[in-house]
């Protein structure tokens, strides 16, 4: 219904130390979409996410998140983010699952304010949705990769975002947990209308899970529906010819 796109990227370029990382990337993601970014290592996937999150400024071009700058969107708590390798990261200090999830609610509560009954209800719902309620008193450092992944999803949902950004979300997560994880993303997209954007090197996941694929290797190679993505031309342009002889080793 709304005419605003969740993300608009216009002619974004980024060079670091004379190297071009992103070259004239433009696309728009309508609200409520489920989109994956795929591409080779060093192709600029994580860099693009960091620009959308406002953690990096592009050398050239413009990014809008819900029609605003990424900084303004962040301030409003519009963006939920699950960074790379969070499922494997070493957490050497004692912190409970509940504390991690509540930390995601911080900006929504506001400086100097205490938790309201509404905050408590919301965080409970989020923990139920991500199925981490029974883990609430456990130390995050002692959880499995899959459990930890769900904890960080709950954390990112606690601020009630409209956009969820995930970077290589299933690294270090076993196959069963992976399936459960993608099922969770699908319900978040379908039930809450959450716009989801995630980066993965896993082409199989891209074609089976998401609705749209952005193929990125410095430039945007294609922005298409996922079932069209496997047309040989796109994969070849994305990864180069070498990949065609080893199609099963696409862990780039």
């Amino acid at each position: 219904m709304s005419a605003t796109n969740a993300i608009e990227v216009q002619d974004v370029c980024l060079s670091l130390g004379g190297h071009t990382i992103l070259d004239a990337v433009s696309f728009a993601i309508p609200q409520g979409s489920y989109v994956g970014i795929v591409g080779p290592n060093g192709g600029g996937k994580t860099t693009l996410l960091r620009i959308i999150l406002g953690l990096l400024r592009p050398t050239h071009g413009r990014v809008a998140v819900f029609g605003e700058s990424p900084f303004a969107a962040r301030r409003r708590g519009n963006i939920g983010y699950v960074p790379q390798r969070i499922a494997q990261a070493d957490i050497p200090f004692p912190i409970s699952v509940e504390e991690i999830v509540w930390s995601g609610r911080t900006p929504a509560i506001g400086v100097g304010n205490r938790r309201s009954p509404h905050d408590r209800k919301f965080v409970e719902e989020v923990m139920d949705r991500a199925k981490v309620g029974h883990l609430r008193h456990r130390l995050v450092g002692n959880l499995s990769g899959g459990e930890r992944q769900r904890v960080f999803i709950a954390r990112s949902l606690a601020a009630d975002p409209s956009l969820l950004i995930l970077d290589e979300p299933t690294t270090g997560v076993d196959i069963a947990a992976k399936e459960e994880f993608y099922a969770l993303l699908k319900t978040l997209n379908a039930d809450l209308g959450l716009t989801i954007l995630f980066v993965s090197h896993d082409i199989e996941v891209m074609t089976s899970e998401v609705a749209f694929v952005l193929a990125l290797n410095q430039r945007l190679i294609c922005h298409c529906e996922s079932h069209k993505f496997l047309s040989e031309d796109t994969v070849e342009r994305l990864y180069g010819k070498a990949m065609q002889s080893h199609p099963l080793h696409l862990h780039l």
């Binding site: 409003r76 983010y81 509540w102 930390s103 995601g104």
Partner: protein
Amino acid sequence: MIPSIFQYEFMILAFIAGIVTAIVAPTMGVFLVIRRYSFMADTLAHVSLAGVTVGFLTGTQPILSAMAVSAITAIWVEELRRKRRVLGDSALSMFLSGGLALAAVLLSASRGLNVNLHSVLFGSIATVNRLDVWIILSLGVAIFLAIVCLYKELSCIAFDEELAETGGVQTRLINHIFVILTAITVSVSMRIVGILLIGALMVIPVTAAMQLSRSFRGTLWIAIALSLLSVIAGLFIAYYVGFSSGGTIVLLSMALFFLANLCKKFVGSP
């Protein structure tokens, strides 16, 4: 019957200053430790020595001059870290030596001054006066109130700074407030534990608490309890045996750390 120790005003003052120190040092320490910024306390303490010397030279209250110099340094270090111009730990190491060097130069330039260096370095219960206690008490209350107001934000940044930033927490502002609070904590703790041992009181009780706790909040409360125990017992021992207060307090907190570690080994990790 009042124990004889409390018949002396200086001991009552030392206990008030000690209890304030025992509460605020590990409270700030818990954030420093999990951010891997423990060395910040030591750096600011060494810089404080230059601040104390400036205080003696200009006739200002040493606690206040130490606080001003270490707050300026704290902001400087934090900006260097944020802009990633210098690696965090090398910035700290540089300022630690720089602060000590400045103190050495200022002390040598003021040969005529009668500065009791030993009590500044290792803490002393006999030199705490009423004005000190008023300053320590009011700064201590200010630190505690600031932490109560900013607890959510401080812990959110400590768990993961980038996640806090993308979630909409004003990380730069909160980080500046955080390092200034650390600087104030250092100057508050200076009298009782001494400049060379402040870092220990901010770090050791926290590390001991981490062996026993099952949550971040739990770590904070256990750390405060262990630190209170070390400071109160340390002051008694310092009075009756005549040991240095700072040294005794830090050795006691080390002993508590080893006990906590043993507990973890035999009872199992939490």
